[in-house]
């Protein structure tokens, strides 16, 4: 008997993906030894859901579960999209794909050649790709008309990627690699950035340090703690003055882009609406109300005009 996740026939972003997981405590903690992700005909995975599916699949395999991804034979659009962005290339070899894995990665053929559609970039722990933020920035800028807005969006995107990717390398502490991806949705005139890791989770690494390093913040619940980090910065497991400005700077650039910012951790999630000069908590969820997914998954979506 397998734990089945049915990805429905519609646009699937991170939230829709989470809703599809909603069954007890999720596939990681379920008793079943097998997990099947079934992608319905007409399902259209957005880049953040793709990265989350990738991370979760690899996490499940790492935990010893048998993982299968099922795609519809009659409708190959999602399969082809995932192939083009490098999904199957990054998927662990032991994970079964129905009807079959691509014999040759389309991403390798298109690598860097899809303006606005950027392949999922693996963040190999212990091996920093120094050009990753710049490549992702250039891909985004190639989708925008010349002008001041293009420069501002490019700059903000660069720093978002550099800080988020830097955080993965510095704090993830996982045996599994992380991922970064970007997609421009031309019809919607918007873009989506996703950076994921499979580490302990942002709050999970921070909270044990609070009594010693930040005793004045021990009383804050998870949402308040995250909002503090976003608004004021300076929260780092190493202690005061030793970092924690990355998340704060991400928030600053999110405000500049007027982006929606989603942070998903193993036992908590937070969604924030960023406008010029303000961050507003849109929603928050805590353990008991959500299935467990390893790592920290940060998504920003914003308009390009």
């Amino acid at each position: 008997m397998a734990y089945r996740v049915e990805l429905p026939s519609r646009w699937i972003n991170g939230l829709v993906f989470e809703n599809a997981l909603r069954e007890d405590s999720g596939p990681i903690e379920s008793q079943e030894a097998s997990v099947v992700f079934s992608v319905a005909s007409g399902a259209a995975l957005m880049v953040d859901a793709s990265v989350r599916l990738l991370s979760l699949s690899n996490q499940l395999r790492h935990k010893g579960k048998r993982v299968t991804l099922e795609f519809c034979r009659q409708d190959t659009s999602t399969y082809d999209y995932l192939d083009r962005i490098g999904f199957f290339r990054e998927l662990h070899d032991d994970i079964v794909v129905h009807p079959e894995r691509p014999s040759f990665s389309a991403a390798s053929r298109y690598f860097g050649g899809n303006p606005g559609v950027v392949e999922i970039r693996r963040l190999r722990l212990g091996e920093i790709d120094h050009e990753a933020p710049e490549r992702l920035e250039r891909a985004l800028m190639s989708a925008l008309p010349q002008g001041e807005r293009r420069e501002r969006v490019g700059s903000a995107a660069y720093y978002l990627f550099s800080e988020l990717i830097g955080n993965v390398h510095e704090h993830s502490c996982s045996a599994l690699d992380g991922y970064a991806a970007l997609q421009v949705y031309r019809n919607g005139n918007s873009a989506r950035i996703a950076v994921s890791d499979s580490g302990e989770g942002l709050l999970e690494t921070l909270r044990p340090c609070l009594p010693e390093k930040y005793p004045e913040l021990v009383h804050l619940d998870s949402t308040a703690l995250l909002m503090h980090g976003l608004r004021r910065g300076g929260l780092s497991r190493k202690g005061k003055g030793q970092g924690g400005d990355g998340l704060h700077r991400c928030a600053a650039y999110a405000m500049e882009l007027e982006a929606n910012l989603d942070i998903r951790m193993p036992a908590h999630s937070l969604r924030v609406n960023a406008k010029q000069g303000s961050l507003r908590k849109a929603s928050a969820q805590a353990r008991g109300n959500m299935p467990r997914i390893g790592g920290t998954h940060v998504v920003l979506d914003f308009r390009l005009d």
């Binding site: 920093i128 120094h130 933020p133 710049e134 700059s155 660069y158 720093y159 550099s162 800080e163 990717i165 830097g166 390398h169 510095e170 910065g233 300076g234 003055g241 970092g243 924690g244 400005d245 990355g246 704060h248 700077r249 600053a252």
Partner: protein, 188 residues
């Protein structure tokens, strides 16, 4: 005894440290860059000021700025002066400032003829003293107190603190009355 006009070690981040790459990001790269600069400084013990030029640097993120520049200023404060010059973009300056604020380490930045003191907020009195030291290049405690119309003890305490924080350099000279006098130099 420090020289009258302190010798400066000029470091161009782009060419001397980053091998021509105009984007710098992340803590690890920042730490590596700082260690390179520190080695260069160790090889030049006569240099009392380390001037880091960011000319040509298109992107410098906050994590890099913290580990490379701000930590360097922390490391040398009270012993050598560290300043940053030729910052090409507001984003880079903002990131440097954010890093300096988080680390609670003020930093001297020269982008024009007037310096900026970024990082933790400074009081008006502190800014007045800093402006005086910058304008003159070098000033003694009694002299500064007279110009500012303040008590010598008060000014002495502030100047010592500014020296310990890395915002000015301090040197000891023989006073005409005998003994040592402290003189404070602008980091530029």
């Amino acid at each position: 005894m420090y020289p009258v006009n302190p010798v400066a070690l000029d470091i161009r981040l782009l060419t001397d440290i980053l091998d021509g790459r105009p984007e710098a990001w992340g803590s690890e790269e920042g730490t590596n860059a700082r260690e390179k600069i520190a080695r260069a400084a160790a090889a030049h013990p006569e240099a009392m000021i380390i001037r880091i030029s960011l000319q040509g640097m298109r992107r410098v993120d906050t994590s890099f700025a913290r580990e490379c520049v701000v930590e360097l200023a922390c490391q040398f404060r009270g012993r050598r002066g560290v300043c940053v010059t030729e910052i090409a973009s507001k984003d880079v300056l903002d990131n440097l400032n954010a890093a300096a604020v988080t680390r609670d380490q003020p930093l001297v930045v020269w982008n024009s003829k007037e310096p900026q003191f970024i990082g933790p907020k400074l009081s008006d009195d502190t800014r007045d003293i800093l402006r005086l030291v910058t304008k003159r290049g070098e000033v003694g405690t009694a002299e500064a107190a007279k110009i500012l119309g303040k008590q010598v003890n008060n000014v002495s305490t502030r100047l010592k603190r500014l020296s310990n924080e890395g915002l000015v350099l301090r040197r000891d000279v023989n006073a005409s009355t005998g003994g040592l006098e402290f003189r404070y130099l602008s980091i530029q």
